[in-house]
Structure formats: C-alpha cells, structure tokens
C-alpha cells in the first residue's frame, strides 16, 4: 500500500555563483516513512535541507508540502524559515546549533514558541490564559526531554552537555514545534556506538508516533536498519532511489562511493 505524499520536490536546482549545488532534483517523502538521503560529502544534502527549510531560496524547481488535514498544497520555495516551521517542518543541524547559554529545558521551550501565543501584555500581566499556556509549555517540554533521555539534565546549560546529548536535545527541540516532517542532519555524527544504538531506537519511536523523517546520515549501518527508502545523491543529482537492499546493490551508487573514496 502506498501512503500519501507529504513532501514533493521537483526539478530543484540551487546555484551558488557558478557552482550548481543541486541539479534538477526530484523525490518525495511519504507520510510516516523514514527516507534517508545519502551521498558523498559535498553532494548537496545539507543544501537541500536549507532549501526545504527556507534558509536558502532555490534557484529553480518546486518544493511542495501537503499538510495533513489541509486540502491545498503549500509551495515552500522562498518561504521564510519560521513560516516553514509553522507549516510543520522541523530540523536539526549538522553542526549543532543549540542556544548554548540557555538551559536544556529552555531550549525545548523555545521550540514551543510557534505553537503558543502569549505576547507583551500576556507576559507583563500574566493572566490566567498565559499562566496556563506557560504551564503547558513547561510540561510538554519536560515530557519531550524524558522521551529523548535528558530528564536528569533539564536545568543544565545546553552548552555543557556531551556531544551525543546535544544531538538528542536538538531532536527534542525540533519535536517541540509539532512537526509532521522532521529533517535530521547527521544525527549520529560524533556519537559512540552505545549512543548510536539509543539514537536508532529513538528515531524509530519518533516514526512510530506518526512523524515522517528525512534523514541525512553517513553511518551506513544506521541508514540500512532504519530507513524505509533511500535517495542517493552525487554532485547535486539523484543517482539512485529505492529500498535499502536495492540501493546497496546499485552499480552507480557503488561507483559514486568507491570511485570517490577508495
């Protein structure tokens, strides 16, 4: 059974000066799946993330989002990053971008920003609605931290966490924005084997809760165990797509990897 498409990328192209980082890329993400993006360094994977999340405006092509429960599709090209987040797409960053001088809990609470409303007057007068909202933010954030295994460190500064814990905190912060599509940029980078195992469990759990996941990762074991489908990129193009076992035996993929690296 094919589930519905939630993100459709067609003919996506991104030029930086003379360099073409993405070249007429086509693929789609379906509801509830884990789609892995793999490819050698510099293949354009993070650039793709930046295009989808509104940090770059693509030079050509379309990024279409089909929100659950919303009839019309949304064109993401050129939307501001915060609007993309409001539409239900959240991400983590390859080179961790936490608010390092805020506590772990506060980091996640900031993620609740786009789903809450209190403003100047609410902040100053703290009416009942604001207090209830604030209470809910704290509780929901704490629940998310328990989920990623950081409940013991809620009051620590994010910058003082270990590398692996910071990566998990980034996931919790992204989840706080209530995304239906989660973009993870190398979540296992810098983790030790035990941490990676826990991460695999965590990502699986997030998928089971109904979030679709688009994943960039270099750890092939992780990619092969977790993903439902894989898209392989090289020089900004898609060179292969399919289930893990199909991709594993694809000649072009082997050439891109082995030809480059060994």
């Amino acid at each position: 059974m094919m589930s519905e498409t939630i993100l459709q990328v067609t003919g996506l192209t991104m030029d930086f000066g003379g360099i073409r980082a993405l070249d007429t890329l086509d693929f789609e993400v379906r509801a509830g799946e884990i789609l892995a993006l793999i490819g050698p360094n510099g293949a354009g994977k993070t650039t793709l993330f930046n295009c989808v999340t509104g940090i770059y405006t693509p030079s050509g092509g379309d990024i279409l989002l089909y929100q659950p429960g919303v009839r019309a599709r949304t064109r993401l090209n050129g939307l501001k990053p915060n609007h993309v987040a409001e539409k239900g797409v959240a991400r983590t960053f390859q080179n961790i971008r936490l608010f390092s001088k805020m506590t772990v809990l506060e980091n996640v609470m900031v993620g609740r920003h786009c789903r809450t409303k209190a403003f100047i007057l609410g902040a100053v007068f703290r009416d009942r609605k604001t207090r209830a909202e604030e209470q809910a933010i704290v509780e929901q954030s704490y629940a998310l931290l328990k989920e990623v295994g950081l409940a013991a460190q809620v009051n620590e500064l994010a910058g003082n966490l270990s590398y692996g814990a910071q990566r998990r905190l980034e996931i919790a912060r992204a989840l706080a924005t209530e995304p239906f599509l989660l973009l993870l940029d190398e979540p296992a980078a810098g983790m030790n084997p035990q941490e990676t195992i826990r991460l695999v469990q965590l990502i699986g759990k997030i998928r089971d809760q109904g979030h679709a996941i688009l994943l960039i990762e270099h750890d092939m074991k992780l990619v092969m165990t977790l993903s439902d489908r894989i898209v392989v990129m090289d020089y900004g193009r898609k060179i292969a797509e399919g289930a893990p076992e199909e991709v594993r035996s694809n000649k072009e993929v082997i050439r891109a990897y082995l030809g480059e690296e060994g």
């Binding site: 930086f16 993070t46 940090i55 960053f93």
Partner: protein, 300 residues
Amino acid sequence: MDYFVELLFSGLTRGAIYALIALGYTMVYGIIGLINFAHGEIYMIGAFTSFVVATVLSIYGFPLLAIVVLAGVCAAIWSSAYGYTIEKLAYKPLRHAPRLSPLISAIGMSIFLQNYVLLAQTSDFLPFPELIPDFAFMEPYAHIVGSSDLVILVTTAVLMVALTILIKFTRIGKAMRATAQDRTMAMLVGINVDRIISVTFIIGSGLAAVGGLLVASHIGQINFYIGFLAGIKAFTAAVLGGIGSIPGAVIGSLILGLTESFATGYISSDYEDVFAFSLLVLILIFKPSGILGKAETKKV
C-alpha cells in the same frame, strides 16, 4: 566653471584624506572582521603628535623642511605604536569571543583615547602651524586649488602606490592577503597570523597619522574630538567602496569627498554631516557589500 573646478579639487582633497583613514578600517576589517572603532582616534593622535613635534621644533628654530619631515615621521611612528598597543590590549584577548565583544571593546578604547588626549593636552582647539608653504609655481591657480591641496593629493597618491606594491608584491603583503582570505588556512601553512595582524594595525595607523598631519595643517586647528567624525566618515567611505577591499576604500573615499564637496558647495552646508551619516545608513541598509565588496553567504 572655476567654482566647479574649485569644488572638484576640494572634493578630491577631502576624498584623499578619507582614503588615508579608510584604508586602516578596511585592512583591519579584511583581516580580523572587526570595525576598529578606535581608528579615528589614531588619526587624531597622529594630528596631535605632529602638532606637538612641529611646534616644539619651530620654537627651537628648525628649518621648515626638517619640521615637516620630522613631524610626519614622528606622527607615523607614534600612531603605529598606539595602533599596535591597542590591538594587543583590547582586541587580541577577544579573538575568539562573540562578534560584538571586540566592537564594544573598540568603542571603549575610542572613548578612552579621546579623554586621554583631552586630559593629557587640552580640550581647546589648538592652532596648528602652517607646514605647507604656498608654492610660487601654484600662484596662477591659487584661486582654484591651494598648494596644500596639491601636497595632499600627491602624498596620498604616492602612499597608495606604495601600499599597492607592498600588498601585491612583497612577502608580507602575500601573507596579509592569505590571512584575509582564510585565517586558519594561513596559520596552517606557517604564516604567523598574530604578526600579520600587528603589521596591519601598524600600517593602517601610520597612514591615518599622515592623514592627521595633512588635515591639521590644511585646516589649521585640531582638538581631541576630531577623530570621531573623521573616523565615521572614513568608515562610511570604506563601506561605500566595499569594506575589506583596498581599491574599494579609495574609490569610496573619493566618491564621498566629491559628493560632500558638491553638496555643500551647491546646496547647503548646514547638513554636511547629516549627509555623510545618512549615506552610511542607506548603504548599510541597501547595499552592505558596497561597490567592490563581496556579498557574504551565510553558512549553515
């Protein structure tokens, strides 16, 4: 027509002075990405040092040529020493701090130096001795372009050529360009980055000091506050040309000098400074990369 040519030359002269100061801003920015807010004060200290030296020498009866040369050399040496010291004290410890920290430090340094000169010397305007005589061969053109304008233009041109040669063709120039492009890489290939940064401050400060001497003798008076406005205007020129770019700083300075000269000459002189500030605000808002600068791409 004469009036137009007169304004043209006064604009070029202004531009030349701005260029001498703007180069310091742009070189430092190119290398460490810092708006060296205290640079205007280096220029002011250059003017004061040349004032002190020139006046002392003239009291002791030295000939004019010796006074000019010694005042210039002393101003350049001492300003460079100030520039070097400031970098070591206020910026070097902040190399890895958040971006705004060195800027705040620079603002503090600027205020400190202003008040240091105020306390060490005086808050009054001081009459600056006339160091550039009226040349006889300039007599027929004196109503259009003064001798000091000529000296300023020639001096600036010579210094620009010297600087270009230094940066393009010498070892230290190559190292400076490498450091500006990628500090970590430069360090990896064995360039002593700290030394290059010091050299940049020294050269920039020296040029500003010459600017200080030339302006002071052109205008005829100085006080401790002249660095603030001159600094802002030179910074405007550097941004206009594209901060980080050396030819950009010169072009930006000439444009700023000419527009100021024509605007005050043909329109009104009341809002002379408002004009420079507005220009600064407008460029930063609409084209922060300036004429010759590269636009920055954000890296995520």
